[in-house]
């Protein structure tokens, strides 16, 4: 698994030794820290809270930036390097911002046999996104090519953010889904 390095939240690439100004650092709210520590206390070892804490970071900050990873390390008092390693391994932690509606289209074999690959092309065309290419200019959409989502019998399928899947998709359904997103009938990203 190779994933791009997470960007800093600064708008320019940092020079060697340059640090982010304090105000740009993200930190968890006291409530989020309490939530993370409560989760850690349930496990035999607090390290096990790394994945849940990264999920919380994604919910709180919208995506898992390098600073969000550092915040996780601080909240759990675990090494930053450990958190970077974990965050970069798992594809669900978005290392770059995504749209308000992140569309994950399965193109694995069972979906592809029923038109999943062509459906992904259609989604990209309708939203103006490329898979993994960040949000559309209006910030509304982003698209990702997903591996099997465990919905192969009702292919093709797609997940909007973390919502219940949409199944047996075709052009008409896609149109309906995009419109209901615009009407706010799907939970927005990280909500």
């Amino acid at each position: 698994m190779n994933h791009p390095l997470p960007p800093e939240t600064a708008d320019h690439a940092l020079a060697t030794g340059e640090r982010l100004p304090k105000s740009e650092r993200v930190d968890f709210s006291p409530e989020a820290i309490a939530e993370i520590q409560a989760i850690a206390a349930k496990y035999p070892d607090k390290l096990a809270a790394t994945l849940p804490a990264l999920h919380i970071a994604q919910r709180e900050f919208g995506f898992v930036s390098l600073d969000a990873m550092k915040a996780v390390a601080r909240a759990l008092s675990i090494p930053e390097g450990h958190v970077f390693g974990v965050a970069s391994f798992y594809t669900m932690y978005q290392k770059k911002p995504v749209g308000k509606f992140h569309l994950q289209v399965c193109t694995n074999i069972c979906c592809a046999l029923n038109g999943g690959a062509e459906f992904l092309e259609k989604v990209c065309e309708k939203t103006g996104c490329t898979p993994g290419g960040g949000p559309s200019p209006d910030g509304l959409w982003s698209v990702e090519e997903a591996e099997c989502l465990a919905s192969c019998g009702s292919a093709p399928c797609m997940q909007v953010n973390a919502d219940v899947y949409d199944e047996y998709l075709d052009d008409a359904k896609l149109k309906g889904i995009l419109e209901s997103c615009e009407r706010g009938e799907y939970r927005a990203w990280a909500e």
Partner: protein, 456 residues
């Protein structure tokens, strides 16, 4: 914040005759009904927690024996007898007390498989009851359900169901007056197929990268957090309450010797009635395809079937009459795996199908061991150039020479999993690969299986 499913679920869960003595319904009771999942419905309509009450009156070892008698084999991939696996857990001695864990594998990521999801959606309490019974049998202190990250709505449902179970005294301190304390934690994954492999799952549970561990030590000796651990699939554990209710011997009468019970087959691809079919083990594949699921969905003949999830070698027509049980599928050169059955009609380009699958394994390889990391990438590149009209005839022998250097040489079974589709498709559909090389185009004319945009 909980968001339970309110949308209609379009999946098919039943077929004509399902629920009769011939086709018992043990795993999918009430599937498809949105309000089926609550404790009330489970207790009142589906004999909920009857098996747990029975188990708690038995000696733990007797529960394991009952599961052994049932003959049930793991439904997650390897088909290992569940009762035997449980008996590997070390028991307390006067000198040494152990902390033992049970882990439920709900990472369901094998392409073609979508059964665990349905069990958690409609019968979460059946799974929870199964986990508690297994924990009693092995005298565990804590249980984990590792759920793939995409299933957020199912995680919220499981959390809710667990709370119902705690309130009813099935979980928590002093369960049903036995003096035994046990609780279950739900752990959310974050999108990595490899975390379905049991030791990678343990690493992920501990908060690490999902990289498989070297075995031995096996999880029963050194598992989660260094303690003895047993890992079972959702379907395996959810089958435990019916086994205890009917008795192991009665369960063993379903199916075939050494391949007992029912299993939830997941039918997908070019099939008229895709969906979940809970069937006794041992029914012929072509009977399932034609008589139960209505045959091909496209009107074209079915050319290939993958019988046990994407990792299983594909069948061509002459193996279509194979009885669908662990041993028969193995004897026919494939594996029963996760129960995902994928149908491909004669218009499917096998080069594209193979490339799509190999791309999946190359992407999901954790990268720890060289044969898998490099081998899957090589296979992907070679298939890519064949698909794009730049293949050479020697490439086919090159592909055939790569798999023996992966299979059996890797740390975990993902390497072997990639070789299954590669070898079988190349051997059984070689003319399609050759056609691709000589004509720089597909031999057939079905759906394009590879998106022209993106990739990972």
């Amino acid at each position: 914040m909980a968001t339970f499913r309110t949308k209609h679920d379009p999946q098919r869960y039943t077929f004509e005759g399902f629920g009769s003595d011939k086709y018992p319904n043990l795993m999918l009771r009430g599937a498809g009904h949105l309000d089926n999942w609550t404790l009330d419905v489970y207790e009142q309509q589906h004999e909920g927690y009857v098996a747990l009450k029975k188990a708690l009156k038995m000696e733990p070892v007797a529960v394991t024996e009952e599961v052994k008698t049932s003959g049930i084999r793991g439904r997650g991939g390897a088909g290992f007898p569940a009762g035997l696996k449980w008996s590997f857990m070390p028991k307390d001695t006067p000198e040494r007390k152990f902390t033992r864990y049970v882990v439920c594998n709900a990472d369901e990521g094998e392409p073609g498989t979508f059964k665990d999801r349905a069990i958690m959606e409609y019968n979460p309490h059946q799974l929870i009851e199964g986990v508690i019974i297994s924990a009693w049998a092995m005298q565990c202190q804590l249980g984990f359900i590792y759920v793939r990250g995409e299933f957020l709505w199912l995680i919220e449902k499981l959390e809710h169901a667990l709370q119902e179970a705690r309130n009813a005294g099935y979980l928590g301190k002093d369960i049903q007056g036995t003096g035994w304390d046990f609780d279950i934690l739900v752990h959310r994954g974050a999108g990595a197929y490899i975390c379905g492999e049991e030791t990678a799952l343990l690493n992920s549970l501990e908060g690490r990268r999902g990289e498989p561990r070297v075995k031995p030590p096996f999880p029963a000796a050194k598992g989660a957090f260094g303690q003895p651990t047993t890992i079972n699939n959702v379907e395996t554990l959810a089958a435990v309450p019916p086994i205890l209710r009917m008795g192991g011997a009665e369960y063993a009468k379903i199916g075939r010797p050494k391949n007992t019970g029912t299993r939830v087959f997941c039918l997908s691809g070019h099939i008229k009635r895709p969906g979940l079919y809970e069937l006794p083990l041992g029914l012929p594949l072509d009977f399932i395809m034609n008589d139960l699921a209505g045959g091909s969905s496209t009107g074209k003949k079915i050319k290939a079937i993958i019988p046990g999830g994407a990792s299983a070698p594909a069948f061509s027509e002459k193996e279509f009459s194979t009885p669908m049980d662990f041993d028969s599928v193995r004897d026919a050169g494939s594996m029963a795996g996760s129960g995902g059955v994928i149908f491909m009609d004669e218009d499917t380009c096998m080069v594209q199908a193979c490339l799509r699958l190999i791309r999946f394994y190359a992407h999901e390889s954790c990268g720890q061991c060289t044969p898998c990391r490099e081998g899957c990438n090589w296979m992907e590149m070679i298939l890519h150039r064949i698909e794009h009209g730049q293949g050479r005839m020697e490439d086919l022998d090159l592909l055939a020479s790569i798999t023996p250097n992966i299979a059996g040489k890797t740390l975990c079974a993902l390497g072997d999993a990639a070789c299954g589709p590669m070898d079988s498709m190349l051997q059984k559909f070689r003319p399609e690969f050759e056609h691709h090389i000589t004509h720089k185009a597909c031999m057939v004319n079905g759906h394009h299986l590879l998106a022209k945009v993106g990739g990972h």
